[in-house]
């Protein structure tokens, strides 16, 4: 599975989105279930799926799917087509 697919599945799972709702340009305000507890779930999920730990400050700074991609890219995770 590509990293793109992995991230998509993680976001669907954590925020209970339908597949048809997912886009890589989704922002936090587009996702009703992205609350503070959702941020914790997302951070744990990133650790589980990509093996990278986010600090609380990094986790709370995430404001979009693009931010997740950016922070993972900065850790060396490859997102060639995102």
């Amino acid at each position: 599975m590509s990293n793109r697919e992995k991230l998509k599945n993680l976001v669907l799972d954590v925020f209970l989105l339908d597949e048809s709702e997912f886009r890589f340009d989704l922002r936090r305000e587009d996702i009703g279930t992205w609350d503070s507890l959702g941020t914790v779930s997302l951070a744990v999920g990133i650790q589980d799926v990509f093996g990278h730990h986010l600090s609380p400050a990094e986790a709370t700074s995430l404001a979009s799917v693009a931010d997740i991609v950016a922070i993972l890219r900065a850790r060396g995770v490859d997102f060639p087509d995102a």
Binding site: D13, V14, L16, G32, T33, D35, L37, G38, V40, S41, V44, G45, D48
Partner: protein
């Protein structure tokens, strides 16, 4: 004082003898109970004044710790008569028992009722011997059965489209009333009046009764029996005072007397409803705060009923941040569509803090002998599988 172990069919003779004799006795399951030494030690703590004319049953209660609960035979017989009146049981000629007799519900509502009112009593092995159970129900004429909600799917599974017209009273107790399966119960027992009984072993065991036809909510347990008082504490705990209640109990810390005028916690949360009826909000452990949000596990299960018709149960778990949480356990395994529908309900109707940490499934739910979910065994159930996780534990 003596210990009477439930050794199966022959025990009713021993029970009759023990009930008719002066000595206080403990009636215990032969298997899955407590060591006989523990029971003997517990009995030894009973005050001299209660060593005659009483009986004791075993409960793990809401704490999971064994308790020997002591009842008065005079009070229990009075309760059997009160139930007879309230449930209009005069036409009933026979009690057919499916549940273990050491369970206070079967003991008082069926065995003692039959003994006190001079009716026939027939014991079956329940679903351990379905053919014998079916034969007993088929042969029944003006009979009464006492069920727990978990029996309804088992009746359907084992007996399909059959019905049992000879059963004229069906009682439920011991767990949430199966309101959403009433049509099935009515089909299985087309001539029966159906009752929701509520109580706890400390009440020995009944507190309220309602006819199924008098309400449309599983939480509605009806009105208190004559002489029984219910109240809710400021934090929502349901309390009772009853002329039929247990007189005390023994646990690891000794004997604890229940005074005649004492308010006793049922272990449930509840509130006064309309017309003097009472409604349950859940077991004390089933309602808790998580990240400041009130979580009610019974309400949570209720909210997914439109998407899930199978069995549902919960076990508690603390999340990695130290907050209390819960895991939703489903059986049989949900289809992807059902799982999607359940998650859609979470998303649309429930705050995230009330979502379970995980949804798990297994082909069957671990059950205790008396038909309640074995909550302690859910986390280690065979073939357990994670269907969805919040990734918080």
């Amino acid at each position: 004082m003596r210990i009477l172990l439930d050794r199966g069919d022959s025990v009713t003779h021993d029970l009759e003898e023990s009930w008719g004799g002066p000595a206080t006795f403990a009636f215990l399951p032969q298997r899955g109970g407590v060591p006989e030494e523990w029971a003997l030690q517990a009995l030894g703590q009973i005050p001299a004044s209660m060593r005659t004319g009483h009986f004791a049953l075993l409960s793990s209660g809401s704490t999971g710790e064994p308790r020997l609960v002591l009842g008065s035979r005079i009070r229990a017989e009075a309760l059997a008569r009160a139930l007879h009146e309230v449930q209009a049981s005069e036409p009933v000629r026979r009690a057919v028992a499916l549940l273990p007799l050491t369970y206070s519900y079967a003991f008082v509502n069926q065995w003692l009722w039959a003994r006190t009112l001079g009716r026939a009593f027939e014991r079956t092995a329940g679903f351990a011997q379905p053919a014998r159970l079916a034969a007993a129900l088929d042969a029944s004429d003006q009979a009464m059965v006492c069920l727990v909600a978990a029996h309804v799917p088992l009746l359907e599974q084992h007996f399909g489209d059959r019905d049992f017209p000879g059963v004229i009273r069906v009682h439920f107790a011991g767990s949430r009333f199966p309101q959403e399966r009433l049509a099935t119960v009515r089909r299985l027992f087309p001539n029966a009046e159906i009752f929701n009984n509520y109580g706890c072993i400390e009440a020995m065991p009944r507190l309220t009764v309602r006819r199924a036809s008098d309400g449309d909510s599983a939480a509605d347990v009806g009105r208190p029996l004559p002489g029984v008082e219910l109240d809710a504490s400021p934090d929502g705990r349901l309390l009772f005072r009853s002329p039929y209640s247990a007189v005390g109990f023994c646990d690891a810390t000794g004997f604890h007397e229940i005074a005649a005028d004492e308010w006793v916690a049922t272990g449930d949360l509840g509130h006064r409803g309309r017309d003097g009826r009472w409604e349950l909000d859940g077991r004390s452990g089933e309602v808790f705060k998580r990240y400041g949000e009130k979580v009610s596990l019974p309400l949570l299960l209720e909210s997914v009923r439109s998407a899930w018709g199978g069995a549902g149960a919960f076990y508690r778990e603390t999340d990695p941040l130290g907050e209390p949480g819960h895991v939703l356990f489903l059986s049989p395994r949900p289809t992807p569509e059902q799982l999607h529908a359940i998650l859609a309900i979470f998303r649309e109707r429930l705050a995230r803090a009330t979502w379970p940490l995980r949804i798990e499934s297994a082909p069957s739910v671990p059950m205790l002998a008396h038909g309640k979910v074995d909550a302690g065994a859910l986390a280690t159930a065979p073939e357990r599988r994670v269907e969805w996780s919040q990734r918080l534990g």
